[in-house]
Subunit: 245 residues, 2 copies
């Protein structure tokens, strides 16, 4: 099995949740059946939300590129980043090493296109996603349009409360409310695209199909680790898993 | 905050549990308040139980030494290994780099000596601990004697069931039974010294004080990360935390 490098710590709870999902995805008889991961649970990455929403502060991009190099140095054969907002810096991560970066945003867009071809995708994620259009190019490529929450302040407050106090019933209710609004605004499918919200994926209710981008990343990481395919096929493996749902 | 390197994957659930405990130990307002970790969740370390109990197979020692080097290369300023049995190879890990290794077995013995000075310590852990005396020297140093479970086969079966199916109520009952036996055999204090059993720490019942070696390691890692003390003081920081309970 090939070792997967995880650019983590954004936040640490989400990274741990990703790791647990990877463990749960495997039918194991012993440790050795599980996927080997090397994880930089770097809680000191400059705030992505701050850099994007408020401007100023240290640029997270070079820090993420350095983490990618360190993980490959520690044996990673592919990289993942369980933080949707940080995918704003995906190009810098991709260019930092010669190993494939399994792009969660691309996977999410492929999955949304499978569920609602040509439709509208409600993006249940950080306001920073909208501000800099983290999903826009990837959605346009598969002929989809985004629906953002009208109450972005409420979304941001919810992220901050989960980062500080962990997932709560109140946060789940808030996110279900926001889903209802996004469906009223035309969303055909809803994508959980904030790994803090992934912690509440089972508690969020929506009147449209709902999926979690993080689960696609879990599937892609497991498939990549197990496959003996050459590195250049990694992208297609990842999207293969993503589109298979 | 200084980055802690984690020799993990033995098993992966225990590593994730350790990481979650480190997160839970911190009062955080944002990601940056959390302890940075770099984790080699290496599920492919040769089986410690197999190497020790059955002999033959690949030697885990050199693999662990290599992991230690990799973690220090990735920025770790101290190393931890959330697996008691693997502490059989502690010297090889310690000698692999010039960074301090926060030794969970030493911490556990210090804590047991604090609770029951000169007494008997029930070791709730892998049969491999007894077979090669992982705790013996460290216990002798603080004037304590070990009590092992009389039914080592039951212990091993419980470890294997947790590694394969995760923690269960049945496993917790079995471990509580074994605690009762160890207290009958003279144990003044019981130390959970298998990170698979740590997953059930809150469910295990004993008629003697019971503590979890892993929790001491969590405290030591947090204290080391936060302290600005020079590296040569790391050992005393670790044992300071351990003895403070």
């Amino acid at each position: 099995m090939r070792k997967i490098g995880v650019l983590g710590g954004m936040g640490p709870e989400a990274t741990i949740y990703f790791m647990q999902q990877v463990v749960d995805a495997v039918q194991a008889r012993d440790d050795a059946d599980h996927i080997p991961l090397v994880v930089d649970n770097n809680t000191q990455v400059p705030s992505r939300i701050k850099a994007i929403l408020e401007g100023g502060g240290e640029d997270p991009g070079p820090v993420l590129a350095q983490m990618a190099k360190g993980l490959v140095g520690a044996g990673a054969e592919a990289l993942v980043m369980p933080c949707n907002t940080a995918h704003f810096y995906a190009d810098q991560v991709t260019e930092a090493t010669d190993k494939p970066f399994l792009n969660m945003v691309d996977m999410a867009c492929a999955e949304a296109a499978r569920i609602a071809p040509g439709g509208m995708v409600g993006l249940l994620g950080s306001p920073a996603l909208q501000q800099v259009g983290v999903f826009e190019a990837a959605l346009a490529k598969v002929d989809l349009n985004p629906v953002y929450a009208s109450e972005q302040g409420r979304m941001l407050a919810t992220i901050r409360s989960i980062k500080a106090q962990g997932p709560s019933e109140f946060a789940a209710h808030t996110l279900s409310d926001i889903c209802t609004q996004m469906v009223a605004d035309g969303a055909d499918v809803i994508c959980i695209c904030c790994t803090e919200f992934s912690l509440l994926a089972k508690e969020i209710e929506a009147k449209a199909p709902l999926f979690d981008a993080l689960q696609l990343l879990v599937g892609a990481a497991v498939a990549f680790s197990r496959s003996g395919a050459p590195l250049e096929q990694a992208g297609s493996i990842a999207s293969g898993v993503a589109t298979a749902g």
